[in-house]
Amino acid sequence: MSKDIKSNLLKYKSLLGLVLLCIVISIITPRFLNVINIMNVLTQVSVNAILAIGMSFVILTGGIDLSVGSTLAISGAVAATLIKSNGSMVMALVVALAIGALIGLLNGIIISKGKIQAFIATLATMTIFRGATLVYTNGTPVSALPENFMLIGNKKLAGIIPMPAVITLVVLLIAWYVLNETRYGRYVYALGGNEDSARLSGINTDKIKIIVYVICGIMAALSGVIVTSRVGSASPNAGTGFELDAIAAVVLGGTSLAGGEGTVVGTIIGAMIIGVLNNGLNLMNVSPYYQLIVKGFVILLAILLDKKNK
């Protein structure tokens, strides 16, 4: 295989992987490739996709955010409580996103000014805010949510296209724009590529770090609202373990954990790969326990292929 073709193939490996996966699954089970199923996949993928987009910003700077699951839970819980007591959609949404932003701010400050490693800092906040959610909800789910709130997670535009997928698309477009067309996007890549060079070039690296964690927090809060809406109640255990799927999506999409390299489009493809895989295995009646093993192997494979490219 000529060198040029090989390097191009590796560049698009995530997309190729996704396409290959879809082909293989459609051959094995004819139930995969129909509109209703695809729409289901899109819905199921949306929450992880939104989390993963937020996570991309953080990982691009060389950091990581383990607290997204807890942020998801507390934002969902607060949104649910507010909508029940107040009825105003706007207020519930705004407050939920604000909570996500504040948790992100806290993470960002601890990591940049406090100079504490991201892994440890967000491990701590993950625990704190999971506890906070349990305290806030008294350990019980907040249910019986009004109609208007349920629309976010369940409405279908034109009867088919699920709302969460639309929201994901909007988030993707905004994220893509910020990372590719604005100078903040460049600063994110520069910071992840070489923090010393970035700082010596006059970039306020502390500020950029704080901003990416705030973005990640907001995305987690948005996911919390969607999850709560889809399920119909806000569970204090919502989002547990979601950070791992988000990170997996980012890595499968070709973003380097060291920072400085990767795209949000790649992340979406990564999220799709996970979603399609889960869906395919379900349709094939594979036990969900085996699904975890398969998912783990896919992630390993993706990282090995990435190393080989380098």
Partner: protein
Amino acid sequence: MEIKKPLLEMINISKSFPGVKALQNVNLKAYGGEALALVGENGAGKSTLMKILSGVYKKDEGKILIDGNEVNVSGISDAENLGISIIHQELSLLPNLTIYENIFLGNEKYSGAFRKLDKKYMKEKSTELLSKIGFKIKPDTIVKNLNVGEMQMIEIIKAISKNSKIIIMDEPTTALTDVETKKLFEVIEKLKSHGIAIIYISHRLDEIFQICDSVTVLRDGKYIGDAKVKQVSKDDLIAMMVGRKLDEQFPYRDEKKGEVLLKVENLCYKNKVKNVSFYVREGEILGIAGLMGSGRTEAAKTIFGEYKKSSGDIYVGGKKVNINSPKDAIEYGIAYLSEDRKKEGIVLNMSVRENMSICNLKKYENSLKRIDKKEELEDVNTYIKKLSVKTPSPAQLIKNLSGGNQQKAIIAKWIMVSPKVLIIDEPTRGIDVGAKKEIYEVLNELKKMGKAIIMISSDMPEILGVSDRIIVMSEGKLSGELSRKEATQENIMKYAVSINN
């Protein structure tokens, strides 16, 4: 009469990278007991050729013979087993380990039944090797606490400790002082007397005439020729390297000096910078000379806001300013080009264009916070042309450029923000003769435009050739100031080694 056989022969070596023909039919012969200089402008292919020899790259075509036998060097351990050792231009020590751990990396000594690490032996052997070079330092010092020059000495000791037959030194003296260089040459003579072949890559022609026996010249990836050092002149060599005779190596232009743009008063930073005061005017190049460890870089970084000053005042254009970060410094019109471009100058996996425009993005921002990429590209292309940055396109990853062209790209980056004061730390380190001159011309242009330039340099001829005024630092203090007329290598050195009371 028996003709001496070469210890190493590289025949018709070719190597290409995507879009670049790095080497085409290059030949090289090295003899045991001799030092062969490998010279050429940046991008000539010297580092690539040596990386092939040392197993880092695989050649596309050609043969390598050691002692007359063809060998296959398919990896770094192959090369080491064949007795080939290389000291790279980019240092490869592990910063979190100690000196002796770095020296014995991969060759650790064990003792006793339990195969315990024989730290005593390794420390003693390391001390022995260190004293061979005259480097007085404890072998259990952590490497990251050393500065660039000291790290390079350790690299050399590492190679020497592996008992190699062929030792390649890629710009070994760039960060060494004259004293250390002399010691290095003594060691090289010792190695020669043991029949070892040394391949010495350097831009410092004076050194080559001192220590090397023969020289091979490359240009643009091609083999130009070789000669015995005794039979060739410096001008001849330069002509072979650049394909033209350089009549003026250090262009100096006398410009009208204007107002004081930057003044520093009693600047202190920890124990590295002690009460340093100086000023620089419009249209002036102020050279800062001194030995390694004299605090020049620390002073520069303190002015630039990377380090927090302990005390002292900084005035820009007559006004006292408070600089707490590089961002502040840039806003006041100060630019700083670091001596370590890989670590502090460039973002390796970004393109040339992205690296060049990174300080200037606010200028290209239009409505909706969008970067006008067309304007950005125009600016970048203008400066690529102005500084003759050799790159297939602005989209090329900067890590694929040669060292000299990377440096030019960074200089362009800073010029693009139109600073009032440019502090440049070792401007031509690791850069070939032709590109050096281009950089001096750029500095002269900036001088003419009324900028103030502070040039920190350990290259004596450079400081003497290009500066309007020279100050000398020694052990954190300002030890002397010389006008261009007064300055000579001797009196700069006198100030550099003196300790003020």
